[in-house]
């Protein structure tokens, strides 16, 4: 079974600064996906960024980027130029690769990091 660990229950940062959220995971799989989801107070789960394990290049989406270290099983999220709208819970999640694990495309979530952006 896979496990996902987020060791920072809460973080806060000044607006416009850069913040990094940590995530580690444990798996014996070689093909998988990693995700960061954002959950604002509205409760909606919003996909922020995804990484495919077979890709060595780190994923980026505008102000969001990841540092994917496959050997270390680490997947951190960096938010640059943080904005007030970034205030939310952030969840790291793991999913086995569907093409080799049919029926096992299930997400395993970490416990989340509550991020507060201070004006």
């Amino acid at each position: 079974a896979q496990t996902v660990t987020q060791s920072q229950p809460e973080m806060s940062v000044q607006e416009a600064e850069t913040v990094t959220l940590s995530c580690t995971y444990d798996t014996s799989e070689n093909n998988y996906y990693l995700f960061w989801y954002k959950q604002p107070p509205s409760r909606q789960m919003i996909l922020v960024i995804r990484q495919e394990a077979y890709k060595q290049q780190n994923a980026t989406e505008n102000r969001f980027s990841v540092n994917f270290q496959k050997a270390a099983k680490s997947f951190s999220l960096k938010i640059s130029d943080s904005q007030l709208g970034d205030t939310a819970m952030y969840f790291c999640a793991f999913m086995k690769h569907g093409l080799t694990n049919f029926g096992n495309e299930k997400l395993t979530f970490g416990t989340g990091t509550r991020l507060t952006i201070i004006p």
Binding site: V4, R43, L47, R50, G98, L107, F109, G110, T111
Partner: protein
């Protein structure tokens, strides 16, 4: 497209009552999931389905039942509600491998359930 819809948004149940949480998606996705989120925690998988007529248990299935008679709908049934089932319930769906976004799950807005 409405995406993934869930009803109701809020519900209060008494211990021992039963109810069905509704979930529907209009994206023709094969995969559908039910998760629960307890306060301060991540989401845990209750049940999932890989297509109409096929369902399987997730991590925390006790006290729940599901059915999948159509591609669009995936209701979650709570029998004999207990305080431990107080949680926020999320439904999600995902396309098959032929779709570009086949690795992304799309979530509904959630149902907040309180059992007293």
């Amino acid at each position: 497209n409405a995406g993934v819809t869930q009803t109701p948004k809020f519900r209060i149940l008494k211990i021992g009552q039963s109810m069905t949480l509704q979930c529907a998606q209009d994206m023709n996705h094969n995969y559908m999931y039910w998760y629960r989120q307890d306060p301060g925690m991540g989401l845990k998988l209750i049940y999932y389905s890989v297509g109409a007529g096929i369902t399987d248990k997730g991590e925390v299935p006790n006290g729940y039942n599901v059915s999948r008679s159509t591609t669009e709908d995936f209701p979650l049934r709570l029998e004999l509600a207990a305080p431990s089932q107080t949680s926020v319930y999320f439904c999600a769906s995902k396309g098959g491998a032929l779709l570009m976004s086949y690795n992304e799950q799309f979530f509904g807005p959630g149902t907040r359930l309180t059992v007293l």
